[in-house]
Subunit: 295 residues, 2 copies
């Protein structure tokens, strides 16, 4: 099969699979309190590129993990991601009204319900992971907690808020993003791999290097698309981050250099995988997809 | 030793112990991002009756658990409780400005930081529990996730919000509180016990019955104190819940009957412990303390 077609088939299958897993994992829409259950489903289902679940599935294949176990890891990281988007969009944070082409959760369900939906999704993520049948479920929960907490995503978000209007040096910008988005992306890769056979130390190091570069690349591309997307949309001014005065890779490096930086990180991510050979094929394709995407 | 003195010594020792455990578990005040670390410490330390940790320690003694393991269970439930208070106090929820005699977290640190502090505390709770050395850490994480999520605390909170201005029948009021506060109280007892030897089925049933009654008693007493406390404070009108039009045990039963209901639940909690004998002594004393407290 043509590699591009094989990738499209592989990723499409897994995007449909995680959608099913999430739909089964979330409380039914009529589960009391229905308003909260519906807000949780609204924020998670039918949307998103499912980058983190795909990373988990790809790492799971490398570790020869049973797909039904990887489902738990993939769902857990996506639930944490979805909860973080709900809270990020709240008026006291980024105050966004649109997400994935539909009203944000608090616009659709009210602020209080959105806040609780995020809280309940975080709890659900740990519940799914704890009950997922991984070889070391407790270790997996500890890893997810570290990635989501003050040393990871929540901490990166706080630095992001503190740096509005500031001109962060590139190194600090990278540190912020390694926490804010990178920590959960690294967790997706590690947790997917943790569903399978034990990795040799060199394999684990290679995976971490890959995930670090891929996570940073993801954020650089996000920053580039924030600018290019808005420039292409007639009648809009600058992108959201720019308008909010947030430091970005584009504001730090300029557009052309940011694009080059993303490409360099893509090469770095692929190079890290080299010792792992063809079982790491999907991870390599994911790095391409992350950098070459247009939305 | 006089039983009252013995209880005071036991509870005081454990209150100091959990304070130390929490202080060590939380990120240091200077840990970057310092603003977030400080908000987390502010919301958790130097405040609160530590009812949930005391329940965990008392249940741990019943199960002959190593106190160092119970520390993890006690800290986890208290961290979840503290995060829920931060989020409950936010303007989009109860909009409270005072908590434990000091400004609420969002008043002291801003809404965005308070939101993230709550989020990070929830993650930390699971991290502490997962790494706490319990006989079944993954099972413990699953239990905490259930208690904190849509079927427990977050779900109960959503029902509470939906019922402002409504006159809930007593049965629905009890269901709401079994989720909102009861679920985490039951989890505190179960997790404390889960740190020790396996319980016989009859012991587990007795503990659950105890925790159910004690959790409900705790809420009934809260409602009574909300009214009595405010009546005693000259110049204040009604209590907070009353002012917000929330259904309470006092609005549902009247003050005298609510007091009687709390006393009946105290007896029920103590009766449930009868088959467990003297190893359940601290749990029985806790039921008394919960109902007979004045703040």
């Amino acid at each position: 099969m043509n590699p591009d077609v094989a990738w499209a088939v592989w990723s499409g299958e897994r995007q449909r699979r995680i959608e099913d897993v999430l739909a089964r994992t979330l409380p039914a829409a009529e589960h009391a309190p229905a308003h909260l259950s519906q807000a949780m489903r609204y924020a998670v289902l039918e949307g998103g590129k499912r980058v983190r679940p795909l990373l988990a599935y790809a790492a799971g294949e490398l570790a020869e993990a049973p797909p039904a176990v990887v489902d738990a890891a993939a769902a857990a990281v996506e639930l944490v991601h979805a909860y973080s988007l709900i809270h990020d969009d709240l008026p006291c944070m980024d105050d966004d009204t649109l997400r994935r082409g539909k009203p944000t959760c608090h616009v659709a369900f009210g602020e209080a319900t959105a806040l609780l939906a995020g809280d309940a999704l975080q709890a659900l993520a740990f519940g799914v992971l704890a009950g997922g049948g991984l070889p070391d479920s407790a270790g997996a929960c500890a890893l997810l907690a570290e990635a989501a907490g003050v040393r990871g995503m929540a901490g990166g978000q706080a630095i992001d808020l503190d740096s509005v209007g500031a001109a962060l040096p590139l190194a600090e910008l990278e540190t912020m993003h390694r926490m804010k988005t990178g920590a959960l992306i690294r967790a997706a890769v590690r947790l997917g791999a943790a569903c399978g056979r034990p990795l040799a130390p060199a394999e684990a190091v290679a995976l971490d290097s890959y995930a670090d570069a891929a996570g940073l690349a993801f954020q650089v591309v996000d920053d580039v698309l924030d600018v290019e997307g808005s420039a292409a949309s007639l009648g809009k001014t600058a992108g959201k981050d720019m308008a909010q005065g947030k430091p970005t890779f584009v504001s730090s490096l300029g557009l052309a250099a940011a694009r080059q930086h993303a490409e360099a990180l893509r090469i770095e991510a692929r190079s890290a995988l080299a010792p792992l050979g063809s079982p790491a094929r999907r991870l390599a394709e994911l790095a391409d997809w992350i950098v070459l995407r247009t939305h």
